[in-house]
């Protein structure tokens, strides 16, 4: 059992995601990786589907993990993890493996979890493999140079949804809500939560809860991407916090059919305060922002965030 981490001060010193990786300066997903590895500890195996957290981390012929790591295709993180988990189970049973059964964690991007990798994720959850599947959500196909994915927000500029006179808002669709896709159709699922790199202790504890659960767990981590969202790299944490404070991203655990909110919100900031700091939204017109605000209000209500959006005084 991995114990609860009470505070930043009490978080373990040991790093299992060490310095030396080609991720962007200020990369949100890299921080998510570091916190995940720290929480999971030494008895862990990572599966890395193709995406920034594969390509940037393993350039070239090396990698920053102190625990075993194996590449998976962008398509098949869940299936590869299923095989690894099953192997340890049977090898231990047949006395071909001596030792503690390791934690198995898939660390997939939104493409590798929500889009092309969704089938493998769903299969893994359905079959009940004891694996923690983490989606680090940087809200685009980032490694290929920032293209829209199903989690890219409405109105975001990507290289596949550029704004132009014929398509003034850039991306026209609203994002797929993968935690909800996962939550409602997988009877073997043992733990489901969302997390943010803006709340590192909460994130690490959710990793631990997911690993402690005997069976499949899904953790959806929002991780801002300075390259793709087009903000300066020192603003990564601010962006993560604003996403939650505006309700663009909601932090919760889902247990027994109920959403348990992870941060208490006294007030909610309007999405405009978040959008204006990111160049990917620079082209939006007031009507687009209104449309997005209405969408966010509805999603917040769904999980029980009832405070209205109010512009802050400053």
């Amino acid at each position: 059992m991995l114990e609860r981490i009470p505070s930043i001060r009490k978080a373990p010193d040991e790093e299992y995601y060490v310095p030396g990786h080609r991720t962007c300066a200020g990369c949100g997903p890299a921080l998510a990786y570091r916190l995940t590895a720290k929480a999971a500890g030494p008895n862990t195996i990572f599966i890395g589907p193709t995406g920034c957290m594969y390509v940037a981390n393993t350039s070239y012929g090396c990698g920053p993990w102190r625990v075993p790591w194996i590449h998976a295709q962008i398509t098949n993180g869940g299936a590869v993890a299923s095989g690894i988990e099953a192997a340890f189970k049977v090898l231990a049973r047949k006395k071909k493996y001596q030792g503690e059964i390791p934690h198995v964690i898939v660390f997939a991007g939104d493409g590798g979890a929500v889009d092309i990798g969704l089938q493998a994720l769903s299969g893994m959850l359905y079959r009940g493999h004891d694996v923690l599947f983490i989606c680090y959500d940087n809200e685009s196909y980032a490694n290929t140079g920032i293209q829209t994915s199903p989690t890219t927000p409405y109105g975001a500029w990507t290289t596949f949804t550029p704004a132009g006179p014929a398509v003034p808002e850039g991306k026209k669709l609203f994002p797929k809500d993968n935690p909800k896709v996962v939550a409602h159709g997988h009877p073997e699922l043992k733990y489901l939560a969302t997390a943010s790199i803006g709340w590192p202790v909460d994130l690490m504890n959710k990793v631990r809860k997911g690993l402690n659960a005997e069976g499949p767990a899904y953790l959806h981590i929002q991780a801002p991407c300075p390259k793709g969202w087009q903000f300066p790299p020192n603003k990564t944490i601010e962006m993560a916090k604003l996403a939650v404070q505006t309700g663009m991203f909601q932090l919760y655990e889902y247990e027994n059919g109920e959403y348990k909110l992870s941060v208490k919100m006294e007030e909610r900031k309007p999405v405009a305060e978040y959008l204006k700091l990111q160049k990917r939204f620079a082209h939006l017109q007031p009507e687009h922002i209104e449309k997005l605000q209405a969408f966010v209000d509805a999603r917040c209500a769904e999980v029980g965030i009832t405070v209205p959006a109010v512009a802050s005084a400053r």
């Binding site: 790591w69 194996i70 098949n76 590869v80 095989g83 192997a87 049973r93 769903s122």
Partner: protein
């Protein structure tokens, strides 16, 4: 000696998997290989085999599951047919590239269209250059034996490559044949336990499958090439050992039938070669110098063996039971590759292709008869007027 039973190719394959004490199996249903998995599921349910039996959500998942399991140190098994084989295509190269000796049974089936369950080698042949050892059996006994031999060869430290064991759908998968099922103790002697070189283990952490710079491309690919190059010798040794322990001897590369003084032969692989042999025998009764050469190992293609042993014939007809639209010489892969292997003997030995049995249709005795006649004609005239014939339309 084990006991002789009359079983299908599917059940033969399942018995091999059980004898190999496989740890992780991943299934997905598609005719005609499905029976292998049903039989294994039964064995697991009845407690005859201790393995994780995972229902993949598709063939892509099947290959992905065994990729992970093999990297974690398990002996693995999967299988498929037809469009299932091609659906998994992405994962073949990662498996051979990470040098994971997983094994896959193929019960051949056409790709769609035609919507058809019949056998064609097109499915497995599509994957021919992905770094997998591939061979076709022609009897139910050979299916069982080939599965065991391929585990041993694939897991040899000099090789460490995945394997396809192919059997023609329906013909072998579904028809019963006499199979001598070996004793587990014999298998134990023949097949050492699977040992992965770079297993996933937190006590000895490794990074598997990192990105590289282009400069590392040539050496990495060359290393995989060298592994494939090593297969021939390891196959030879394995067949020797197999003959010693089980008393059944196969030529690892080419089965020659009535070839001793043959002037012309039919070359091909899989179930239909059984019919070809029967036709050759009848022609021998008429005093004609005809024979059959059956390819047993398709990958690596036994170029040297073919050059050494087949350049002595006057003419060779090549049966391709697959579609290869637009391929050189209008035949199939076997024709192209055989022609390429024998290129330097071009004046001495003539080759001609036959495409037959598509969609799983029978290749009849009469069709083989016509093929032999065509080859004989070429041997006599020394002229190849058409590089390949599609049966029954063109011959």
């Amino acid at each position: 000696m084990g006991k002789v039973r009359r079983i299908s190719g599917c059940v033969a394959a399942a018995n091999a998997v059980k004898l190999a004490d496989v740890d992780v199996i991943c299934s997905y249903p598609i005719r005609p290989y499905t029976g292998i998995m049903s039989e294994l599921a039964r064995m697991v349910a009845d407690g005859e085999l201790d393995a994780e039996f995972i229902h993949g959500e598709g063939e892509h998942a099947q290959l992905s599951v065994v990729y992970g399991a093999s990297a974690a140190g398990a002996r693995t098994f999967t299988g498929s047919s037809g469009v299932g084989v091609t659906y998994a295509f992405e994962v073949y190269s990662p498996i051979s590239g990470e040098r994971l000796p997983v094994q896959m049974a193929i019960g051949d089936r056409t790709l769609d269209p035609p919507g058809d369950f019949g056998s064609e080698h097109t499915d497995a042949e599509c994957c021919r250059d992905q770094g997998w050892i591939q061979g076709w059996a022609s009897t139910q006994q050979e299916v069982l034996d080939m599965h065991l031999i391929y585990y041993r060869v694939g897991e040899d430290p000099r090789v460490m490559l995945p394997q396809f064991v192919c059997q023609d759908g329906y013909y072998i998968t579904h028809i019963l044949g006499e199979v001598d099922i070996p004793d587990p103790s014999q298998v134990k002697e023949f097949l050492p336990p699977y040992k992965n070189h770079h297993v996933l283990d937190p006590k000895n952490p490794m990074i598997i499958g990192a990105q590289i710079e282009p400069a590392m491309g040539p050496p990495l690919q060359y290393q995989r090439y060298q592994a494939m190059q090593a297969v021939g010798q390891v196959l030879r040794e394995a067949h020797e050992e197999f003959a010693r322990i089980f008393g059944r001897r196969y030529d690892p590369f080419l089965e020659e039938y009535l070839t001793e003084d043959a002037e012309v032969v039919i070359f091909g692989q899989g179930a239909h070669m059984v019919t070809a042999k029967a036709v050759a025998a009848r022609l021998r009764n008429l005093g004609e110098k005809v024979g059959v050469v059956r390819l047993r190992t398709f990958r690596p293609f036994p170029t040297e063996e073919i050059r050494r042993r087949m350049s002595r014939f006057k003419a060779i007809g090549v049966l391709d039971n697959s579609v290869n639209f637009g391929i050189s010489c209008n035949g199939g892969v076997l024709l192209s590759e055989l022609r390429a292997a024998l290129y330097d003997f071009g004046d001495k030995v003539k080759t001609v292709g036959f495409v037959a049995g598509l969609g799983g249709e029978v290749v009849t005795h009469d069709e083989f008869y016509r093929m032999f006649r065509k080859i004989q004609e070429i041997a006599k005239t020394g002229k190849v007027e058409q590089t390949a014939y599609w049966l029954p339309f063109e011959l």
